[in-house]
């Protein structure tokens, strides 16, 4: 529960950040006459005789001529800047109609572009309790620098056996500071068992010390509250060999018996994956993963006669395009 509250606090903080990041309409272009200008500091190089630089003089090759003292730059006045017109002077030559299309292109080509990415962070097979299993964790996004549509999906199953379950999220993502995005949207669970729908609210980004972190809250269509915290770190061993420790914990605010989830700490996962970046976009990896369920969730699982965790060896491919 404490984790859930921490997440709520985190989300509140994120909103505060977003509010602080709003435009400040009163800020100008920096064309304020009163703006302090740091005077260029006179350097020792200023009075150098170009025909006899210090290193030559030091070697006795020449004697520098006495150079006149550096003139002080004349002090600047405090005339105010003119009001800014529209940037349409070319209309006078070419006509507003002729300029319109290129002016729109100008914005698009100088900061107004959009992009997209599909990142398959985990696509792996594992040997667990004598069964061959598979797992994926991927996301795609489309949009500009600040506003994006993000689709996230993860899931797992066993080969030749039932699909164990997964989820798809569709989120609106907004950059709220240089490193973090606030994300809100819907989550749909897929696979066997009750297929729940959730409202999702989260934050993800790059924390100090280069940790990629993510926290999400999920509120189900039945009013159940879940939370997830995760993160990873890329330890660069060489330019292309990267060791990635990762961790994830899931929390629940209540019992959800049909889903086999008990309140409190549901489960945790620690992983260690070693990848080789053939190119940045393609990196095969090997690793180990440790999972464990806790508390009531573990009791529910044991009651069903299933295991509550353990080590697995994994092999996969991290790729993006």
């Amino acid at each position: 529960m404490r984790g859930t509250f921490a997440l709520v606090a985190l989300a509140a903080f994120a909103f505060a950040q977003a509010a602080a990041a709003q435009d400040h309409p009163h800020e100008g272009h920096g064309i304020e006459a009163a703006a302090p200008t740091p005077a260029p500091t006179p350097g020792p190089q200023m009075a150098v005789d170009p025909d006899c630089p210090p290193e030559h003089a030091a070697m006795g090759h020449c004697v520098p001529k006495a150079m006149p003292a550096e003139p002080e730059p004349p002090a600047a006045g405090e005339v105010s800047a003119p009001a800014a017109p529209r940037a349409n002077y070319a209309d006078r030559i070419w006509g507003a109609e002729a300029m319109a299309a290129s002016r729109a292109e100008l914005k698009k080509h100088h900061g107004g572009g959009s992009s997209s990415q599909v990142m398959v962070d985990i696509a792996e097979v594992a040997l667990r309790s004598g069964r061959e299993t598979y797992r994926w964790d991927a996301e795609g996004w489309f949009g500009g620098d600040v506003d994006r549509l993000v689709v996230k999906t993860e899931g797992e199953g066993a080969f030749g056996d039932a699909f164990e379950g997964g989820e798809v999220q569709a989120l609106y993502s907004r950059a709220i500071d240089p490193y973090f995005n606030l994300q809100a949207g819907l989550r749909q669970d897929i696979g066997p068992g009750p297929s729940r729908s959730f409202v999702s609210l989260g934050i993800e980004g790059l924390a100090p010390y280069w940790f990629d972190v993510e926290g999400q809250l999920f509120l189900s269509d039945r009013g159940d509250l879940l939370a997830r915290l995760g993160g990873y770190y890329d330890l660069r061993i060489t330019q292309r060999l990267v060791l990635q420790p990762r961790a994830e914990v899931n929390l629940a605010a209540q019992n959800m018996a049909p889903e086999g989830i008990g309140s409190g700490l549901v489960d945790a996962e620690l992983g260690l994956r070693l990848r080789y970046e053939v190119v940045r976009e393609v990196a095969p990896y090997l690793g180990i993963s440790w999972e464990r369920q806790f508390g009531r969730t573990a009791r529910l699982t044991r009651a069903r006669g299933d295991g509550t965790g353990g080590f697995t060896f994994v092999a996969g491919l991290r790729t993006w395009f």
């Binding site: 920096g30 200008t37 190089q45 630089p53 100088h110």
Partner: protein, 581 residues
């Protein structure tokens, strides 16, 4: 400033050999005294050297045709956009005082344009689509016409999309109406550029998706265990700030081949001379993204012109030439031997190479790439701070303090604000602090002629260069061009002192169209006049400008992908009777 060898030079080298990009691999391996001795037979230079002057066009009416083509670089054919079938585009040779009509045919299926970089002309002839004219539609011809009112070394390039990266750039030389103050027996134009087999939109997208995509010289655990680069304590302090000291160049030799006059280092372009001659080299950095450190082993470079404007001669051993800058230097090779010209990328991930030789077929040793620089505290804008008193985590909270930059919009575009930036025009460029020989400083430049306007400035303004390497966002004052509502206004013939504050850890070559500005570097009415100035990481540059050219003008970072990301604004100069009070 610390340095390190590229850490996985073996891996890197193998990849290079696979791609037959051998010179880079060779120099990355380090300690290679002579190319020919090191290379296996199949990897010998692809030519004994190319002695080929740039095709030249001149006269009152000049015809240029922009079209797709292929070019051969280091024995490999790639796609390019050229002019009149060549990359670089032909040398345009003009004379001061003439009028020129340039008939530009766009044979592409997309809009194109030509901007005449550094030329003073009516704004509607400046060639920036959406600012000065509508652009040149596909399969149409546009005629630029303007009087030539200056002399010196300049260049021209596309201002549409990312065409410049694909080869759409060329040199301009304007001979003075009277006698040239710079006397020489012979001259060569040297166009430096960067070329990739990747489409520029692919390069930009990779940068957007992963900021350090092209950096294969990052700090690693292997490097730390071997005692290279930053100490563990420094790495933690930089990690706390989410700053990477190896982030020196966005696009590197991992994809670029660095060119001299369109030829790769293995092609070996050769400039001929007779021993004892005064040879004038007109050097132009026409790169999309590469700051070069240029030197010629065994020769003093006497700088006589900067950005087309004559300066008092300064003898140096090495020049850092920012993107879009030009420098004319005079060299006097006395011996009957070859000399190697080397222009290293600022991050030392590759080099452009050419040879000065008395005869074709001669080569000289190519020096290995020097260790790459690491950014330091000063590059983060802590130049004015006492380093001893502000180490470790104590400074973390100061890296994005907007009270140091009230003009800047608080947005995700702004990763850092330089807390205490200093004027760095008296320092060598990034990575050249320990060059061991004389490096050109901006403060060394003194105009040969008195400045035309030496009035005290009427007013001052400050513009911040801001960015976010993680999201690959770049802007002035935290506002990308697409977010800017109004241009930066000036009255005609105002005298304004502008300070550029670099709030990022990367140097930015800032270019103002249609004007020359005078650097405030302590030389009074002989201030050096420039059209492009490099603002070193975490530093400031101050210049005075007389806004004497009415019209709308582009003002931007000349790193192509920074401009494409939004690091550009429009400057407008309005007649006095129109401009508001």
């Amino acid at each position: 400033m610390k340095s390190s060898e590229c850490e996985d030079s073996d891996l890197h080298q193998n990849a290079m050999v696979d791609r037959r990009n051998v010179l880079r691999g060779a120099v990355l391996a380090g300690g290679v005294a002579s190319l020919a001795a090191w290379m296996p037979a199949w990897a010998q230079p692809v030519s004994a050297g190319i002695v080929r002057a740039l095709p030249t066009v001149s006269g009152e009416d000049i015809h240029l045709r922009i079209a797709h083509q292929t070019i051969m670089v280091d024995g490999r054919q790639t796609h390019a956009i050229g002019v009149n079938g060549t990359v670089p585009a032909p040398l345009i040779r003009l004379r001061e005082g003439q009028t020129v009509r340039l008939h530009v045919e766009n044979a592409l299926d997309e809009d194109s344009s030509i901007h005449w970089h550094g030329l003073l002309l009516p704004f509607q002839m400046d060639g920036v689509p959406g600012v000065s004219f509508p652009g040149i539609s596909p399969h149409s011809t546009f005629t630029y016409e303007f009087p030539v009112v200056q002399s010196g070394t300049y260049w021209y390039h596309s201002h549409s999309g990312l065409q410049e990266q694909m080869g759409h750039y060329g040199p301009i030389v304007i001979d003075p109406a009277g006698e040239d103050p710079i006397q020489s027996d012979r001259e060569h134009v040297i166009v430096l550029s960067d070329h990739s087999p990747l489409h520029p939109h692919a390069i930009f997208r990779k940068l957007k998706l992963q900021g350090g995509y092209f950096n294969f010289q990052k700090q690693t655990l292997a490097g730390q265990l071997a005692g290279r680069d930053q100490s563990g304590k420094e790495r933690r302090a930089w990690g706390a700030m989410r700053m990477d000291p190896t982030d020196v160049a966005d696009v590197t030799g991992s994809t670029y081949t660095y060119l001299v006059n369109g030829h790769g280092p293995r092609d070996n372009w050769i400039a001929l001379f007779e021993p004892g001659e005064r040879v004038r080299l007109r050097i132009i950095n026409a790169s999309a993204m590469t700051t070069f450190n240029l030197r010629i082993s065994g020769l003093k470079l006497t700088v006589v012109q900067a950005d087309g404007m004559a300066v008092r001669p300064v003898p140096v051993d090495e020049i850092q030439i920012a993107i879009a800058e030009t420098y004319d230097v005079v060299v006097e090779p006395r011996d009957d031997r070859a000399y190697t010209l080397v222009a290293e990328s600022v991050d030392r991930s590759g080099m452009a190479r050419a040879t000065l030789a008395p005869r074709a077929g001669m080569t000289a040793d190519v020096p290995p790439l020097r260790p790459r620089p690491l950014a330091d505290m000063k590059d983060m804008g802590m130049g004015a701070m006492d380093h001893g008193a502000h180490g470790g985590a104590g400074m973390v909270h100061k890296m994005r303090d907007f009270s140091a930059a009230p003009e800047v919009r608080k947005s995700p575009t702004v990763q850092t604000i330089s807390p205490m930036p200093v004027d760095r025009t008296g320092e060598p460029g990034q990575g050249l602090e320990d060059a061991g020989h004389r490096v050109l400083l901006y403060r060394d430049l003194i105009a040969l002629d008195r400045n035309p306007d030496a009035r005290a400035p009427d007013r001052t303004m400050r513009i911040h260069l801001t960015g976010n390497m993680e999201r690959y966002m770049w802007a002035f004052d935290g506002r990308k061009l697409n977010e800017v509502k109004a241009p930066i206004p000036f009255r005609k013939d105002e005298r304004v002192r502008i300070t550029l504050v670099n709030d990022t850890m990367m140097g930015h070559p800032i270019h103002l169209h249609g004007h020359f500005f005078e650097l405030v570097t302590g030389h009074g009415d002989h201030a050096p006049r420039k059209h492009t100035v490099q603002v070193q990481p975490g530093g400031t540059v101050t210049f005075d400008v007389t806004t004497d050219a009415v019209g709308d003008w582009a003002f931007h970072c000349h790193m192509l992908y920074h401009m494409h990301a939004g690091m550009m604004q429009v400057v407008t100069v309005r007649p006095r009777d129109e401009a508001g009070a």
